[in-house]
Symmetry: C2
Subunit: 348 residues, 2 copies
């Protein structure tokens, strides 16, 4: 085990060095920059072993080594240390969040911006996908002619609205009737309801109102189902040009940029909303082939203890995992806290 310790000391040094320089690391570099106290020849032997074990790769026979995905995995699982994110950053984030109270879109935007600014990586934020909501209040506001604004307030304190267009021009009264009817029926009801639910008392409404009802029900469904395709807010997609392994490889850059603009791939990348606090996917571990030379760090933020969305960064596999994981953790915490404070808290 003593011997293995040395091996992994060397591996650790190689990883740190490669993360910093993006250049294959040779045995002499290790000998000189990190004083492990053994000669380059010995280090060479160890490196050969590490290569055999699958932790190192050699771009060509006479070059230094670079860490493999497996090495990064080991690094993340075994060697990674949390880094303290400066307190003033936390404060900045909080005051920013407070400035945009209630403006969900803006909050997500700013989160992505901060994430990129701190990590120098492309950041992604999925807009909250909140399912299983219970409607508390529903309003129908007449705009003009056939146009009606549907406003839904959920028990969880989420407000959604959308414009709908009826087949005819309603009176204020009709809309009020329908809204009242629905408010009575829907209390405590999930947003996914069946038409059958209304059968009982539907006769209270006039035929015209019943028609409106049907359309409103349809509108509610689309309002709450549009989340099926999650939207992503991205920031700093051109940060990728910072990294020589991309800057010197047009194909790689092209592949990255094309993928990062594809919503379908991003959803795939962020699918699993599991309970791991922070998830790290390294290179080939990514389900999405296009990101197989990237690493993705992501975490789910929550509302009332329930995961509703994901934030993360994407970048070269040789990213600074210690720091990035810490940043993501911090921001996820802050975001969760802010959301719960600003729109949560009323759940039954």
């Amino acid at each position: 085990m003593k011997k293995d310790d040395r091996k992994f000391d060397i591996l650790y040094s190689i990883i740190r060095d490669y993360i910093k320089t993006a250049e294959p690391v040779g045995s002499r570099t290790i000998e000189k920059k990190y004083n492990i106290g053994i000669s380059s020849a010995t280090i060479r032997n160890e490196m050969a072993d590490l290569e055999e074990m699958g932790y190192l790769l050699q771009p060509h026979t006479s070059s230094g080594r670079i860490p493999s995905d497996k090495a990064y995995r080991l690094y993340v699982d075994r060697f990674m240390k949390r880094v303290d994110v400066d307190n003033y950053i936390r404060d900045d984030v909080r005051s920013l969040y407070n400035r945009y109270f209630g403006e969900l879109e803006e909050i997500m935007n700013k989160t992505a911006q901060i994430l990129t600014k701190l990590t120098n990586l492309t950041s992604l934020v999925s807009t909250p996908n909140i399912t299983g909501l219970n409607i508390r209040d529903l309003r129908l506001i007449h705009i003009e002619d056939e146009r009606v604004l549907l406003v839904v307030i959920t028990k969880q304190g989420i407000v959604k609205n959308g414009e709908m267009r009826l087949n005819g021009i309603p009176t204020e009264q009709m809309l009020e009737h329908v809204a009242n009817f629905l408010n009575l029926c829907l209390t405590d009801m999930q947003t996914e309801f069946s038409a059958a639910t209304f059968a009982a008392s539907i006769d209270a409404l006039s035929p015209w109102e019943q028609k409106i009802l049907a359309q409103v029900v349809e509108a509610i469904k689309t309002l709450f189902n549009q989340e099926e395709d999650i939207r992503f807010i991205s920031n700093g997609v051109t940060e990728i040009f910072r990294y020589p392994e991309f800057r010197n490889d047009m194909d790689k850059t092209k592949r990255f940029l094309e993928a990062i603009h594809r919503n379908d791939l991003l959803s795939y990348l962020f699918t699993a909303m599991d309970d791991e606090p922070v998830r790290v996917r390294i290179g080939e571990e990514n389900e999405v082939e296009q990101f197989s030379d990237c690493s993705v760090i992501s975490a789910t933020y929550k509302l009332n203890g329930r995961p509703v969305g994901t934030i993360g960064v994407v970048g070269p596999t040789r990213m600074d995992y210690d720091y990035c994981v810490s940043v993501i953790e911090t921001l996820t915490d802050e975001l969760t806290e802010h959301l719960t404070e600003s729109i949560g808290g009323k759940e039954d």
Copy 2:
């Protein structure tokens, strides 16, 4: 003039050829591919003249010529022909617009998508920036605790809403009072109003309600002023990789991609909302330095005859101006028509 005709025939051929191939055009190419009926030697002489006149550039002494910005400008001003956009495309666009009736965001998104699909260029759409609105109806909906949803419907049929947070918890009645008060005062009033306007009848409200009023007024202001920074929806930013002059030049690509993600530069690019139906900016003509090796075609779409936003494409200067201008024209028409039909028409 006869002689000049021939010169410009040659110039025209060179431009067409270069647009298609992205390769410098030589005199023999012109002689063979475009039968002007004169020998390459004569063409060479004419080309030398055209270069002297500033219409052609020579990447190096012994290469063919490429058109200068000035040549494209001449082309656009003098030679460009409108191309008929297929009818089925018009139909597609219309049916698409009808499917997303009222969903402004989605409409803009789809417009950008179509634009890219048709032109193979990066497309940009600015969200409508509608000023000088008159409020017709205003609602205050209690969400929970201090949270209130403000819904404003304008005479022009535009609906805007935003969440606000009061300093205390209001009753339904208070909100109704304030809303009614504002509705009375605001009818026929611009969204930019002064606090003084209310002085007259404000005593009808309780002190608490007056406080709420002040906050609502503030909220209305931000709701209608947030347009100051116009948002852009872009699509197909990676189309740039199609074009060898970018694909083979990482710096150029980097500059382009960095610029296309910067909102401030895009606003600059799209500032002038003049009455030209379609605007073409070629290379150095662009006020934005970062786009000096690109051309921008843009047009303003309107609501009730008033320009409210811009759509456009950005790409290499050797783009197919005839086709792209026609496409932009068509889409602008359709968008204007759709908007006016769906939310306009009620203006006094």
